[in-house]
């Protein structure tokens, strides 16, 4: 019980003064009230998370015709999926997008959060600049993505600017409908998901720790690697989980920004659904889910988020 409540203690530890019995309903033993309190969330998760996933797993063994799906227990969908070289290529591509995007958003996100948390002195400016970061989210993902297309195109603003500056003679073809444009859009769309949790953990770092490091003669870089980064780990991890899962599941960005030339797993699933091949889509989704869970399990081995929070 104490271990669990620990999760919800804010960083400044002011709640030591709270009475011990806040979590207990009057007249009920601790165990019962604990179960009752967790019941609503458990039910919500059961109906909106566990049941749908169970359904997807079940359907992944079903069969399909041109216009219908029928209950069965067969391994056809998995067999086709796991024996096609395209599947491996596409999964590899998905992981590639996730890794590159993760690395770039991490560097960007950390830098931005660091600037906001440690260089901007007044709280007002911190809030103003932070809100500035969220402005792109006032419009939809698709619009933000599509607006890159005229910019990067063969006769787009980027190319015509570079040509008029004399940097290049021929328009750069790889700016649009390439891995470059896909990753650019991913970074644009998802960097904020890295900034927010990192900024959040950085704000909780006790400033006196940094002063202590400074007083003990640590250089700026040493303070960064020995104090700030270790204390920011939970934020980095939460941000990483956000970015990795979002990129691995995103199919719209890949479709639009690669001009349908590239594929990731999400696109395989969306193609299957479009062609009424629900069981095949479900099988692909199950494999994707397993992959994502594995990736997150690996991430969590590096940091115990429960302990760090």
């Amino acid at each position: 019980m104490t271990d669990q409540t620990h999760l919800f203690i804010p960083a400044d530890n002011t709640d030591k003064t709270l009475p011990k019995s806040t979590g207990r309903l009057k007249g009920l033993p601790d165990a019962v009230s604990g179960w009752l309190l967790s019941l609503p969330l458990a039910l919500v998760l059961l109906f909106f998370l566990v049941l749908p996933i169970a359904m997807i797993v079940v359907v992944s063994f079903w069969g399909a015709t041109e216009f219908s799906i029928y209950p069965a227990f067969q391994f056809d969908n998995y067999q086709f999926l796991l024996t096609s070289p395209v599947t491996y290529q596409v999964f590899l591509n998905t992981v590639k997008y996730a890794l590159i995007t993760w690395a770039i958003t991490l560097v960007l996100g950390f830098t931005i959060a660091y600037f906001l948390a440690f260089h901007v002195r007044s709280l007002t400016w911190q809030i103003v600049l932070f809100l500035l970061c969220t402005i792109p989210f006032w419009t939809s993902n698709i619009i933000r993505m599509i607006s890159w297309i005229p910019f990067l195109g063969r006769n787009g603003i980027a190319n015509s600017t570079l040509i008029s500056m004399g940097v290049i003679d021929e328009p750069l073809e790889w700016l649009l409908f390439s891995d470059f444009s896909v990753i650019l859009a991913f970074v644009h769309l998802y960097t904020l998901f890295m900034v927010v949790p990192i900024f959040n953990t950085m704000m909780r770092i006790d400033k006196s720790l940094i002063e202590a490091a400074y007083d003990n003669g640590a250089s700026g870089f040493q303070t960064l690697t020995n104090v700030i980064i270790p204390l920011t780990k939970p934020g980095i991890m939460i941000g990483s989980i956000f970015v990795v899962t979002l990129v691995m599941g995103d199919f719209i960005t890949v479709r639009f920004m690669s001009g349908s030339q590239k594929a990731n797993v999400g696109r395989l699933i969306s193609n299957d659904i479009a062609l009424l091949q629900y069981p095949s889509a479900a099988a692909t989704a199950v494999i994707l889910l397993i992959t994502v869970i594995l990736v997150i399990a690996i991430l969590l081995r590096f940091v115990d988020i429960r302990k760090e929070l």
Partner: protein, 430 residues
Amino acid sequence: MTKKLTEKGISRRSILKGGAAATGAALGSGAITGFPTIWAQNIKDVTLRQFGTGVSNLNEVAQKVKEDLGFTLEMTALDSDAVTQRAATQPDSFDIADIEYWICKKVWPTGNLQAMDTTKIKNYDKIVGIFKSGKLTPESTIAQGTAPHTVGFVDGPDGKTFATEETGWMTLIPTIYNADTLGIRPDLIGRPIESWTELLNPEFKGKASILDISSIGIMDAAMVCEAMGEIQYGDKGNMTREEIDKTMAIFTEAKKNGQFRAFWKTFDESVNLMASGEVIIQSMWSPAITAVKSRGIPCVYQPLKEGYRSWGGGIGLSKSLSGLELEAAYEYINWYLDGWVGGFLMRQGYYSAVPETSKNHMDENEWGYWFEGKEATGDITNPFGDVLAKAGETRDGGSFLERMGAVACWNAVMDENQYMVRKWNEFIAA
């Protein structure tokens, strides 16, 4: 993109305003007559829900239905795949399905649609031969693929399999159709294009595109491979596994060599690719060409010597439609074939299932340009008022009979459809 949306918004709004004013005026003067039926009073309460692809599911049509027939038609525009999905899996979500004939082959066996009694269709006799016997003129040969007449009839009101000839029970009432070909940017190509082979010509490396809707894309690919002399198909619309493999191998190699700039799935995407100059040759639809042209950018719907790949659309009725709603639906179909919609669609470059009634709703210049392939005698505008051609210009592909007479194959659903879809996905992912 934003600019385009705004323009669209303005023109739609002004059209709606104009329409509303016209309705008001017509009502005021008592001009609306001619539909005196017993249920004329309560039909106003009827709402029919129609869905289909963006090419024909236009708010202008719904507006005109309200004016002429009095009931409400709710339009939903989706892409081809979504249309198939909805027709197959959500039978209660629509009353009228505006689908394509090749989709009918997938959807009809689900039993979500009901056959239509042709005796209730006033203009049935005037529907062009393609949809009844498969022949445009008595001498014409029937093209390959899923020709509309092969999925146009069933044996009776509850028939599950398609009949081979006219039976009096139609699956879909044909509404629009067209012969598709490649679209090109003449200003950026600068030489005549005559054959489907040009799509894979290395001269256009990185500047070609094809659509990513497997059932249609594979047909375009087949037209190209056949024109190259690489493959002789038994029936392009019903390939063997070996033919599918060969076709996709040729296209995959071209893709790996960087022939394609992008693949498109929706109408708007194809317009943007062409208008921005990203692509200068691609498979394209007729109204997409007119959309590029109306931005003042030259674009040609290039007739090719191997002929056209054709498609047809029609209206199907939901199984659950009955009583007053069913009567209203028949009234709607009769109205549809009566010519106003035909004229509207023909100004976009499509053909009406009953051309002769559309003639009453077009002026002589328009009819000559769109249907007879004559030189325009004055400005030709699309239904939204944009000028598409000036006096002296002729329609690419010539007259109705020349165009529809040169159809090489119809969009199709093959026996090996599932195999083809998998191969197509591999091509896209390769």
